[in-house]
Symmetry: C2
Subunit: 124 residues, 2 copies
DNA sequence: ATTCTACTTGTACAAATGTACAATGAAGGA
DNA sequence: TCCTTCATTGTACATTTGTACAAGTAGAAT
């Protein structure tokens, strides 16, 4: 897998793409089941999003029986890198520090996460 | 300024909104000048984006001579909180840790930033 | 063989996005 | 006063996004 320059994913597409990463390979159904309960969205819609992701180059699929089994065709890391980069540019002018700070202060992180982060920072 | 639930900003809008936060108050021109050189985008386009941001409730404006002077009408912090939240949900299923880790490893942070972050984490 | 299923493919369609031109109007300079 | 200069407002328009139905089809069940 190499670094191609794919068109950006829309928010809804991103959400689906994440589920594919999580599942490694998945049919439309499986993706649907993986959707958080709060996020009700029709089978057909998921299908469209998967189709679009494939068209954009983020996914490929195999045929397994009659169903398409989708899987990533670009490294998650590459996509994340770009997404985070874009996000930083847009919202913070590219400076990662305010985001870091925001996350650190946000309280979403548990004590043990902070510990881990400390360790991570230590040997960086 | 209170927490209203405004429609999300598009990426291009977000970029402009950031500049307004940076400048506190600004005319279309000033926003244009603040745009990174790489990002060439017509005056008229910036105008449209500012108009849309105002319509969505993110900005207000005063009249100063013939020009509109735009300024934020919601707290930056609130907007950022929501944006980051959405971003985390979409790309990381809401878990801030992978993003933290990504940022920490990314090398975009200088040594002194890491120091600061350490301190920040220390007293959290 | 017929019907039921689970899928895919084609298509739809309103709203949002990215981008920008044209017309209009007031303010300042010649 | 008349022209030039900015700015605003109205409008435009192709594309992308979010969401989804309908028709077609192959395999499973009866």
């Amino acid at each position: 897998m190499k670094h191609h320059n794919l068109p950006a994913t829309s928010p809804a597409e991103t959400e689906i793409l994440r589920l594919i990463w999580q599942l490694k390979r998945a049919t439309v159904q499986e993706v649907c089941h993986q959707l958080p309960a709060a996020r009700k969205i029709a089978y057909a819609t998921v299908q469209t999003l998967l189709r679009r992701l494939e068209k954009k180059g983020y996914l490929k699929h195999d045929l397994e029986g009659k169903a398409h089994v989708f899987y990533p065709s670009v490294e998650q890391d590459h996509v994340i890198r770009r997404s985070v980069g874009d996000f930083l540019d847009r919202l913070f002018g590219g400076d990662p520090r305010p985001l870091m700070q925001f996350l650190a202060e946000d309280g979403r992180l548990e004590a043990k996460d902070l510990d881990q982060l400390r360790k991570l920072i230590e040997n960086t």
